[in-house]
């Protein structure tokens, strides 16, 4: 098993890289850069949501395409999309069932409760997705990324659309998860450099 929580080696793609990044356990890194620099694309590659032209992504030494690695890495997209007819709780229950599949030790409902708390969505649990405001969609995106005790979080502008109070809350949750070792590392994409990352990555 690798000492690094997340490693990206020689990643290239359309308008991207070559980029190499290694994140230590407990580290929170901020990814900053101008529009079109490839920040979102890099996070999608790191999450295994798209494949890079060259290079590889490893999560604790495992390839990101490995289902075991996807239990450890969570990704919150810039433009989150969820099935519109479902409620917040149903969406999280669906993802929780995928995480609880191999063992009966963890109950989906427990993971959902935890994710609702992390996302600050307890009051919106019964709201349908098509009734959610943009800020709540970002909270849900954050909650599904953290669901299941993921150890690496990739957060793509999850603070956008949130008011100052909610931004502070989400920064606090991300920091607290990191300190409590519930997550081992996180890359947070931001429009501007913020105070809470330990390290800032940029072009």
């Amino acid at each position: 098993m690798s000492d690094y929580a997340l490693t990206l080696s020689d990643i290239t793609g359309r308008g991207l890289g070559p980029v190499s990044i290694a994140l230590l356990p407990g580290e929170i890194a901020g990814l900053v850069g101008p529009a079109g620099a490839g920040k979102t694309r890099l996070l999608r590659v790191a999450a295994g949501a798209v494949r890079s032209r060259t290079g590889e992504v490893r999560v604790w030494g495992m390839r990101v395409t490995d289902p075991a690695a996807r239990r450890l890495i969570g990704y919150a997209a810039d433009s989150p999309a969820f099935p519109r007819a479902l409620t917040v709780q149903e969406v999280l229950t669906y993802y929780a069932r995928l995480h609880c599949a191999p063992s009966s030790e963890r109950a989906p409902l427990g993971l959902v409760r935890e994710a609702l708390e992390i996302g600050g969505l307890a009051a919106a649990a019964d709201l349908r997705i098509d009734a959610l405001a943009r800020a709540d969609l970002h909270r849900l995106s954050f909650a599904q990324a953290a669901l299941g005790g993921r150890r690496v979080l990739l957060l793509d502008e999850t603070l956008s659309g949130l008011d100052a109070f909610a931004r502070r809350g989400q920064r606090w949750v991300t920091g607290a998860l990191s300190i409590a070792a519930l997550i081992a590392a996180a890359i947070v994409m931001m429009r501007k450099k913020a105070l809470f990352p330990h390290r800032t990555i940029g072009p």
């Binding site: 793609g13 590659v45 798209v50 289902p67 996807r70 999309a81 149903e90 069932r97 995928l98 299941g148």
Partner: protein, 223 residues
């Protein structure tokens, strides 16, 4: 085991979709129309075949046709599941309500066990084909598929190909109608035609695999 759990997780989303989207109403309207037609023009076998096939196409349009649903697949793929499990679960979510419609329509139009079996097998094949086509191309493609299955798909190709000109078009039309899922073919399942059953089963498997490949492409597309 993991595969079955993931497919089951996909399938469980069918219940809120049936009650909160237009899918439930659309299936109800289709069933009512077919039962009415059974009293005036259609025989019970046609009713069960149409109920299954058209119900499956409506299901595919509602469950995988919406742009938001398709975009959400990318998020699902960042969780521990596989494209094949997603495709299988969505296929089940498409065919199970259509199977229920087959049984309801068969009960209302006059129960024939061979007709119900034919309707269910046809549902599996058409549902799988609709999944494979609607998932990558979107809801719009469900409309021509619905019309084809409701009208042209019920007519044997030898009666239609004469209308096609020139010869190349005729050959292409005949091949498509012979090879693709069509109700004229699946009528023979009721008479115990093994080749029709195999044709339907082949489309069931192929459709799920094609849909799975379409889902996997969302992950493997180079950035």
């Amino acid at each position: 085991m993991q595969f079955l759990h993931c497919a089951h997780a996909e399938f469980q989303l069918v219940f809120p979709r049936l009650t909160r989207t237009r899918l439930g109403i659309a299936l109800l309207a289709l069933g009512t129309t077919l039962v009415w037609l059974s009293a005036h023009a259609f025989d019970p076998l046609t009713v069960t075949l149409q109920a299954g096939a058209l119900g499956a196409i409506l299901g595919a349009a509602a469950i995988v046709g919406d742009e938001n649903e398709r975009a959400a697949l990318t998020t699902a793929l960042t969780h521990p599941t596989t494209p094949l499990a997603i495709a299988t679960g969505r296929w089940l979510a498409i065919v199970v309500p259509a199977w229920a419609l087959v049984i309801i329509c068969a009960t209302a139009a006059g129960w024939r066990t061979d007709g119900v079996v034919a309707g269910m097998i046809a549902t599996a094949a058409v549902g799988s084909f609709a999944l494979a086509v609607v998932l990558p191309l979107g809801r719009g493609v469900a409309v021509p598929l619905f019309l084809f299955m409701a009208v042209a798909g019920t007519i044997p190709p030898e009666r239609l190909v004469d209308l096609a000109r020139p010869g190349v078009v005729r050959l292409a039309a005949a091949s498509a109608m012979e090879l693709g899922p069509a109700l004229w073919h699946y009528r023979d399942i009721a008479t115990g035609d093994v080749s029709a059953v195999l044709h339907a089963l082949a489309w069931t498997g192929l459709g799920i695999l094609l849909a799975s490949a379409a889902i996997a492409r969302r992950r493997t597309a180079a950035p």
